[in-house]
Symmetry: C2
Subunit: 209 residues, 2 copies
DNA sequence: CGTCTATTTGAATGTACTCAAAAGCGGTGG
DNA sequence: CCACCGCTTTTGAGTACATTCAAATAGACG
């Protein structure tokens, strides 16, 4: 529950992420200030980072590793909202900003290094470093657009097409994420994804020798 | 294509929207500056405001009326991304910020009055009036959270439950939006929604046994 | 190696879809 | 005022895709 803190300096994943998104360099002073506000943490495999129903006023930028954000429905089924990889912001944005109980769960899929920032420090960063605020606005705008597109695609395409366009966009996803979670992201059952893959491969995956 | 401009002063829908969201009052000077950046426009019924594939660097705050944002898939079917009512921001956020062709279409459902702002003026507003920037960040954060929730709900619930929770949240929606568009929002065909409604109406809320 | 989890496969079921047509509703003009 | 027209909603019959339940197989890890 309480991940060990790391003493090592903040990786420049954060700085690189900001500079590439706002197309500007940060001054050394700005980088230093930001580094002081972020705290690197290390998590293991399948560690729960945020739990639905509990307040979490920390946001995380993934330095390395992978995570998934999900909800659990009345039947106990997992539904993946988002996978996170290097450079992704994860956490429960609702709880982070409102201070109310989180809507989603966040877990690591593999050992991961996260750059964490508390809400108060986040607000400070926005005030002290305007470039950071700009960076955040762009980040969240992109996230919003992405989720709208996902809604649109979810309607237009059947599961097979959704799977194909997913692995087209993120070819390494199947190798980093178990298949049943990919299914939960696509909104189908693991069995259905298995059948879709079988159909796409044209023959039983296993019996070719 | 080119809606008539209105000479009347900007309604205080904008000011009220900002003040209620940031929990602060605007000064007269701030209100005045904002009013100068927004241009009210009037559109009729079923007027196209933004078209997929065309750049639209204007955003709209609905003063009165209703809109819908949608995509059209390969089969020519309409899929509703969002309905807009009084106080909602509408437009293609992707095109607005990136300057690239819009991903979505925007149409009025009934005659509507919109407060429009061009991208350049939007940027000015963010710089000149920090409260506006805060307001915008909260607005877009809420939009993002809402779309994530919609994705989550879309998975967990079947069409009947999605319909029920929709009319629970927005009871007046069926009276303002044609049923086939409600269906397109729920991700089902009009025939299916008709059957769902029939089933729900045919079944008493509480069966006497 | 054995255990646990993940994936695959089979068979029956169900929900929403397609295609087709009828009925309802609202507005307009004769 | 009524007849007609276009659009929306309803209904019917057959179909497709994904689900559920159940079980076998494959893989990962200690």
């Amino acid at each position: 529950m309480k991940p060990p803190q790391i003493k090592a300096p903040v990786a420049n994943t954060l700085i690189r992420s900001i500079e590439s998104k706002i197309h500007q360099k940060l001054t050394d002073s700005e980088s230093l200030s930001l580094n002081q506000l972020f705290l690197p943490i290390q998590v293991g495999r399948k560690d729960r980072i945020v739990s639905e129903g509990k307040v979490c006023r920390t946001a995380y930028l993934i330095d390395s590793g992978a995570t998934h954000t999900f909800v659990i429905d009345n039947n106990g089924s997992v539904h993946t909202i988002q996978f996170g990889f290097e450079g992704y912001w994860v956490g429960d944005i609702y709880s982070f900003f409102s201070g109310k109980p989180a809507l989603f769960n966040l877990e690591s899929l593999e050992p991961a290094r996260l750059l964490s920032i508390k809400h108060d420090d986040f607000e400070k960063a926005c005030v002290q470093i305007p470039k950071f605020e700009t960076y955040w606005r762009k980040t969240i705008q992109n996230g919003y657009i992405g989720s709208l597109l996902r809604i649109a695609k979810g309607f237009s395409d059947d599961a097979e097409h959704r799977y194909l366009s997913l692995i087209l966009q993120q070819p390494d996803l199947p190798s980093r994420v178990p298949q049943y979670l990919v299914a939960s992201y696509l909104g189908i059952r693991p069995e259905s994804l298995s059948r879709i893959r079988k159909k796409l491969s044209g023959r039983p995956v296993r019996k070719i020798s």
